[in-house]
Symmetry: C2
Subunit: 310 residues, 2 copies
């Protein structure tokens, strides 16, 4: 089952980290951009080619040490059709190296449309006698503001194709309080969303005690809420963004994890992609710098949560 596979990869690498592939052009070394622009000009295609090459270098450097990548769809969509092609090829490249792929798209819509998103990222599409996988990913982030009938098309497809979703509960950004922390009969909105998420997840318990199809997004920048939601939802696996560049600290994450070292996967995007800029190393070494940051983060997390045992 899908999140069981993720948990097994986390245990195998002893690393509860997912690397966010949110490549902006300014993160990409000059030599990669120069080659891409020489071939395709300073165009959307040239930029898409540059970020794909950049991603491939990072994936090659980290795939033995990191269980998962999380490409952020916005950064591919901003390069138009060519960007979406780079997204596809990034996912394909990571999958070929055995990584678990979480498409960060925060998709949401009414049921009949959610079916479309579910088929796009988690399912297959029948065209005449043939079946196609529109995008090769394992998991998708979703927004539950529309309620159950906007989520069920995803959970059904997860069941059918062994995939997973992560539902936004408490997001890592400063303004998340404006809706998410408002109180409904002494319960904050994020907890009401968490309860719904729990109901959706209970239908698919996996072999490690977590829902194998439904996880939740809880920001590293809100440690109190991580602890609260862990207590309320012991069977929901967390995707935890906001570590590093957004200010979330390793020790703040401890509450997400149980005595086996299981409970969540922590995202780092900019700190890994821009490690070469922070280190001020030779730009040719950007991928090794990414690996160094990944290993530093892995050690920090393992020091806090202990050895991961399944």
């Amino acid at each position: 089952m899908s999140l069981d596979r993720l948990i097994e990869k986390i245990a195998e690498t002893q690393n509860p980290t997912v690397v966010g592939l949110d490549p902006k052009l300014e993160y990409v070394p000059e030599f990669i951009k120069a080659a891409a622009f020489a071939e395709h000009g300073e165009t959307l295609k040239g930029a898409a080619c540059a970020i794909l090459e950049f991603n491939k270098g990072i994936i090659d450097a980290i795939y033995k040490e990191v269980p998962a990548v999380k490409p952020q769809l916005a950064f591919y969509e901003m390069l138009g059709v060519d960007g979406i092609k780079a997204f596809y090829e990034t996912c394909e490249y990571a999958r070929a190296r055995g990584m678990y792929i979480i498409a960060d798209g925060k998709r949401n819509d009414i049921g009949s449309t959610a079916e479309g998103y579910a088929a796009a990222y988690l399912g297959k599409v029948q065209i005449g006698a043939n079946e196609f996988e529109p995008f090769p990913v394992d998991s998708l982030t979703v927004n539950g503001y529309l309620g159950s009938d906007g989520i069920e098309p995803f959970t059904e497809i997860c069941e059918e194709y062994d995939k997973s979703i992560f539902v936004l509960i408490k997001t890592s950004n400063p303004s998340s309080w404006e809706i998410q922390d408002k109180m409904i009969d002494n319960t904050p909105v994020y907890e009401v969303m968490g309860e719904l998420c729990g109901n959706w997840g209970l239908q698919s318990l996996g072999k490690y005690g977590f829902s194998a199809a439904v996880g939740a997004v809880v920001g590293a920048t809100y440690p109190k809420q991580i602890a609260e939601m862990r207590a309320k939802l012991p069977f929901i696996f967390f995707l935890i963004p906001g570590y590093g560049a957004q200010g979330g600290k390793g020790e703040d994450l401890k509450a997400a994890f149980d005595s086996r070292g299981l409970g969540g996967i922590v995202n780092s995007s900019r700190a890994v992609m821009c490690a070469w800029q922070k280190e001020k190393c030779d730009e040719n070494d950007y991928a090794s710098a990414a690996l160094r940051e990944v290993l530093r983060m892995k050690n920090e997390l393992i020091n806090i949560i202990g050895e991961i045992k399944i």
Copy 2:
């Protein structure tokens, strides 16, 4: 300013309707599919080609009578990279015929990522010395669950490039009550979202008394909420889905409109795209059937709201 342009087109056509282009393959006449599959095989590319041709036929039939189209991104994403290309070309085709284009993507994320979505759909992207428009659209639907810092990147881009967003307030689906109707100090969540939307919109008042950059999505299936939100947000233009196939009726919409016949634009997707199936007419006449349904709906709405005067 962007929604002023939409309002002017609504007045010009005397038609407060947006046609949702949410093409599933089963809506497309056989002759179109046969031609596309003959050229590209029964593939994602073949399917994307078929829906593009289908869309073009509908756009050609309706563009003089309808101010706007609303392609739903999910149905293009489910055909992979080729589907996104069909989305791009659909938008380009509709724009060339003067239509206002609302990309229905319900995008949302933290600020730095929302900037990416804003650039993708509403802005431009700088690559070296060149500037590109990733997708040729005028407006994007967005989900405000993350709060102001996830919306401001959109409103800034709207200001810069004369575009608009529609924020989900009360969605048309049956489960929307699960979060949206919960009470926060005697105020339902959708109204709290509406207040935020009002704040975002007040910064950009246009010449017809409505925010020219920020509108709201309120489902035709919830007439009481339409009336409530109209009273609370007299300066916010509504995008109203759920008419027709989802059960929303013309008379239920009256409260959205003021004495000038302004206040919202009503979406119809399946009723227009599948008019030829409902009429059981020759499939070659699918586009004329779409136009007949558009004119029927226009008359129904104009009978209710009266002549549109600006």
